[in-house]
């Protein structure tokens, strides 16, 4: 057997704060063999990034390694001097960070930054050689027109391109170990798919090992061979991908999988099961098993004692002492009995909605150039009572602008919105009557931003009630506020909490309670769960579904995440650069014929299910900017099926809307035969 490239044994890391020492990583061990990809998975705050920083010896002022060893190629990194570390950093271990813009120097041209890496690590390399090597590397990371890119500044590149530069920079030093800390989290799904594909190819080509840190189980499945699952500073389970995904042996891992919406799920058939409770604070961890206070298998006297990892053979380890006693074949996910709600009449109608923004650039001589940004172009669809309509698309597709127009924060340039037969498109929210305002409410994406940090939770809800004329006295409203807290399953003592004392999931619940203050007819949810951890996501999603079933609320669910959309929506509208490219019922959109963009989007979504087989479609380029949209079909610059359309029609004309069968509309030039011959993107392995 060969020597492991990286071997970490019993690593303990702590941070010193003013009050006390906070353990950030407890008893962490792992091995990475040459050429191997190890995934480090866990929810936010579980200590996975700290491990990466410890390997680089970058723990900062107040962090330190308490005990344990980090051996890289047999050398203990903890004992190396700063000089020796500098030799290793960059040339033997390289790191790629989450935020690509933040890891590139904004004042230096990309070419200079990249050649700098070579000139630092390879003494005596000539300028010309370095330039050629960098050019080669840019070709390897599949950046178009590398010579031009060498001369650009980071801000002139898109997020995907920046991350590719980051990868190129890391690979230039020819490192044996690459640490990737959530490298694609800030990217769009289709761009992410491209970057992941690239990382896979490169690791094959250069043969380096990767430590891949992510919260996304689907991504980990695609790229890794081994996985360590972390929870509350500890590795609670580790093993091969197959072991973890198909025969997990820790209640937390199982909980994580149960809370993921997999493609085989649907809101009316199967319920997402969230993990009860929340991650304990580092200084409030329970004795023994860190998960014990949320675990359904908790047994007093067994789980609250110190325990060691249990070896299950073949490298599969778990931190659960009761592993032999738990019946792992037992079905833990819940099947739903109810059929959901019946969908009612049309309540909201959008027709030919357009929103243009005009940007005026005037120069010093006074000549004005007006540029038009087409945020929304010709959007029409109906929404029925108690229906969930999902608006899907990546950043810049105009989905948030659409939400703003619904709420009256923006007025459309053209077109109309009818709510219950009444035209509301051109009435700004300040002029809308209370009834209309009450009827259309919104839930926001960022839980840290939806609540005003200066007011208590109770007063914010009561204010909303006051505004909506619910109740006559302050006492009435307070009583109603408690009902609302109960509705979103929060205890009544949250009344006097300040938002900063709440976790992300709790804030989102308050946001829902506030939006629900006067039982809106339509709830516009703008990515309500995308900033939350998986287990919390499940709980919020279920809460929304329950509320919808009880009150027959219509939900307009804006998201980029197709798996959650598939799970809960009845109807799907796919948007790209302001255009609706495809719409139809969930079933129609998720099965062929597809619009090529939908097809690519479906293929790009990482799915954490080993039984799923996907067709891989990787789009070239990045999403074009809305200021400078391509001619003809908006998707033509990235379309993988463009070659099937004759006469370059895609570049010349915007395709018309075609009705396929019934309510399934698609905006594409592709011939009927090609559309019909499409195969499903997602298939299941028959075992």
């Amino acid at each position: 057997m060969t020597e492991p490239l990286l071997e970490i044994e019993n690593l303990y890391i702590s941070f010193d704060t003013q009050k006390q020492e906070i353990p950030a990583v407890i008893d962490f061990s792992c091995k990475i063999m040459p050429g191997e990809v190890l995934g480090l998975v866990g929810e936010s705050g579980c200590g996975k990034s700290t491990v990466a920083l410890a390997i680089m010896q970058y723990l900062g002022k107040n962090g330190y390694i308490k005990s344990g060893t980090i051996k890289f190629k047999g050398k203990n990194l903890n004992t190396l001097s700063l000089h020796e570390l500098r030799k290793i950093r960059g040339s033997e271990i390289a790191m790629i960070y989450q935020e690509p813009m933040a890891s590139l120097n904004p004042t230096m041209r990309v070419g200079e930054q990249l050649t700098e890496v070579l000139r630092l690590h390879e003494v005596g390399i000539t300028k010309q050689d370095a330039y050629l090597r960098v050019l080669d590397m840019l070709v390897s990371v599949k950046l178009p027109d590398p010579k031009r890119i060498m001369h650009t500044y980071p801000h002139q590149l898109s997020g995907g391109q920046q991350q590719r530069i980051g990868i190129a920079m890391a690979l230039l030093g020819n490192p044996d170990l690459l640490i990737m800390d959530e490298p694609t989290t800030s990217l769009d799904v289709t761009v992410e798919a491209g970057v992941i594909q690239l990382v896979k190819e490169l690791s094959k080509k250069f043969g380096n090992s990767i430590l891949f840190i992510s919260h996304n189980l689907g991504l980990v499945l695609e790229i890794c061979q081994k996985i360590s699952v972390m929870y509350s500073s500890r590795v609670i389970e580790q093993g091969s991908v197959r072991q973890i995904f198909n025969s997990m042996r820790h209640p937390y891992t199982r909980g994580l999988f149960n809370s993921l919406p997999l493609p085989s799920f649907n809101k009316n058939k199967r319920q997402l099961v969230s993990i009860p409770g929340q991650l304990p604070l580092p200084n409030e961890r329970p004795q023994g098993c860190a998960f014990s206070n949320r675990c359904t298998y908790y047994v007093q006297g067994t789980c609250d004692k110190e325990m060691a990892m249990i070896d299950l053979g073949e490298g599969h380890m778990t931190h659960c002492t009761r592993v032999k006693e738990i019946d792992w074949s037992e079905e833990t996910s819940l099947n739903k009995k109810d059929e959901g709600v019946e969908i009612g009449n049309v309540i909201l109608n959008l027709s030919n909605l357009k929103k243009y923004y005009h940007v005026v650039n005037s120069d010093i001589l006074g000549s004005k150039k007006t540029k038009t940004i087409k945020a929304n172009e010709d959007i029409s669809f109906d929404v029925r009572e108690a229906e969930t309509v999902a608006i899907v698309g990546e950043s810049g597709c105009g989905k948030s602008t659409l939400a703003k127009m619904l709420l009256g924060l923006e007025q459309p340039t053209h077109g109309s919105i009818h709510f219950n037969g009444q035209e509301i498109a051109n009435i700004p929210v300040s002029l809308r009557d209370t009834e209309t305002i009450k009827a259309i409410q919104m839930i926001f994406q960022n839980p840290f931003d939806t609540l005003n940090p200066s007011h208590t939770v109770g007063s914010q809800i009561i204010r909303t009630l006051e505004k909506f004329n619910v109740g006559n006295t302050h006492k009435d409203r307070r009583a109603h506020m408690f009902e609302l807290l109960d509705l979103v399953k929060l205890p009544s003592d949250f009344e006097n909490r300040m938002p900063r004392q709440l976790s992300g999931g709790q804030k989102q619940r308050i946001g829902i309670a506030r939006a629900f203050a006067a039982q809106p007819k339509i709830l516009v949810a703008d990515e309500p769960v995308s900033a939350l951890d998986v287990s919390v996501q499940a709980a919020i999603t279920e809460l929304l579904i329950n509320i919808q079933n009880t009150y027959r609320t219509t939900m307009i669910f804006i998201s980029h995440d197709l798996s959650i959309v598939k799970y809960l929506s009845d109807k799907i509208v796919v948007m790209y650069l302001g255009y609706v490219v495809e719409q139809g019922t969930a079933e129609q959109v998720f099965s062929p014929p597809y619009h090529p963009y939908t097809e690519a989007l479906l293929s790009a979504v990482p799915i954490a299910d080993t039984s799923v087989k996907k067709r891989h479609i990787v789009l070239e380029n990045d999403i074009p900017s809305a200021i400078d949209p391509p001619s003809g079909c908006p998707f033509q610059t990235r379309c993988h099926r463009k070659k099937h359309v004759l006469n370059n029609l895609c570049e010349k004309e915007v395709p018309p809307i075609r009705s396929l069968n019934g309510k399934h509309n698609i905006r594409c030039h592709l011939a009927d035969e090609i559309l019909e011959s499409m195969e499903p993107v997602i298939g299941f392995n028959t075992k």
């Binding site: 305002i437 919104m442 931003d449």
Partner: protein
């Protein structure tokens, strides 16, 4: 004329200030005990520098409050025997002791210094507060609406900022202008802002509760009109409050000079915070613009504003010193620190210590405010 020993001077001064020490001690200890519940103020106690800054500021505030108890003599009373005396001089016949020496007219520098704090510590905080209300009331809409309102208000603010401050003061206090309606008009305009501000705050919040609102509004109006009449027009029916015309001038000048800076800070903060989701949430439930500005935005920019206020009181203190030094505005025999420096600087060769009481007082107070601002900035970022 005889002199007491330096250590005796020291002990005597400490003894004279016993009331101040006691109050500082009580305030410090009681605040320290409940510091966790005091928000940003409580956080000052996490830092040693903060406690020092607070002590200095508190010291001078308490000196101003208890000036009559602390100062041994009237600040204007002259003892010709002790004129131009050094530290610790006393007259054998009358037993009059000048702890910090006397000035050219034989007035006690210690008493003058203590009384001088009154002028500084009434005008500086009050003028800064009103300047803040002016800046906030105009800066919030400029930042929130942008476009034309912002363009106009920012233009005016820039215009004022572009004008040299000292020249502005010279103009405002020259007799020719002082006799016109300009100073009173300006003061009248600025003193209106606190009332407008309170009205907006209450109206935007309690529109849905008319009974409560009308009660609050009438109370505000009563107090507001009384203060307004007594301060601006010197027409207090109860003869409780009054403001000298030249003091009113200084008020107007200080507010005029410092509100554009505050306006710009508030405008910048408002522009930053108006894109937050909770502002959108407020808009989508149909809140009025003033509610959004005053109840949703203002509380969230209070941190930087408190810091700026601390610094700005320091600047205003410097400004008052400068004004006093140039003899602008305040009466010639005024015991404010700026005037004191001016009155004593000519005799620096005869009695070098003569300028020290006023200069040290001025610089220590400013140091206190700056330390406090530093610590507040640090602590407000930590949250």
């Amino acid at each position: 004329m005889q002199y007491i020993e330096a250590h005796q001077v020291f002990i005597e001064i400490i003894m004279r200030l016993w009331l101040v020490w006691l109050c500082i001690f009580v305030i410090m200890v009681s605040s320290y005990i409940v510091r966790k519940r005091l928000g940003l103020y409580g956080k000052i106690y996490n830092s040693f520098t903060g406690v020092i800054g607070l002590c200095i500021v508190l010291f001078w505030f308490l000196c101003a409050i208890f000036a009559d108890q602390i100062a041994p003599y009237d600040p204007l009373q002259q003892f010709y025997q002790l004129k131009r005396s050094k530290v610790g001089a006393f007259d054998v016949e009358t037993g009059v002791t000048f702890l910090l020496g006397g000035d050219n007219l034989g007035r006690d520098l210690f008493s003058r210094m203590i009384h001088g704090s009154q002028t500084v510590l009434t005008i500086a905080p009050a003028a800064t507060l009103i300047a803040f209300l002016v800046g906030v009331t105009l800066g919030l809409p400029a930042g929130y609406y942008g476009k034309r309102i912002d363009a106009i208000l920012s233009f005016i603010a820039n215009l004022i900022l572009a004008f040299p401050v000292i020249l502005l003061f010279y103009l405002l206090v020259t007799p020719g202008i002082r006799e016109t309606f300009v100073p009173v008009g300006m003061a009248g305009l600025f003193f209106l802002f606190p009332i407008i501000f309170l009205f907006l705050v209450l109206c935007s919040r309690y529109r849905e509760r008319p009974v409560l609102l009308s009660m609050q509004l009438s109370a505000t109006l009563l107090v507001g009109v009384w203060l307004y009449a007594s301060l601006v027009f010197n027409a207090d029916p109860f003869h409780l409050l009054s403001l000298e015309p030249n003091e009113l001038n200084i008020f107007a000048a200080v507010i005029f000079a410092s509100s554009p800076g505050i306006f710009r800070i508030v405008r910048g903060l408002a522009m930053d915070i108006k894109t937050r989701d909770y502002i959108t949430a407020a808009q989508t439930r149909g809140e009025g613009v003033w509610y959004i500005m005053l109840w949703e935005m203002l509380p969230n920019i209070r941190g930087p504003l408190v810091v700026d206020m601390c610094l700005r009181i320091g600047y205003t203190t410097i400004l008052l010193g400068t004004l006093g030094f140039f003899g602008l505005g305040l009466s010639p025999e005024s015991s404010d620190w700026g005037s004191m420096i001016n009155q004593t600087r000519k005799y620096i060769r005869i009695v070098p210590t003569m300028v020290l009481p006023a200069t040290l007082a001025l610089s220590s107070l400013i140091l206190g405010f700056n330390l406090l601002a530093d610590v507040l900035r640090e602590q407000s970022l930590k949250d």
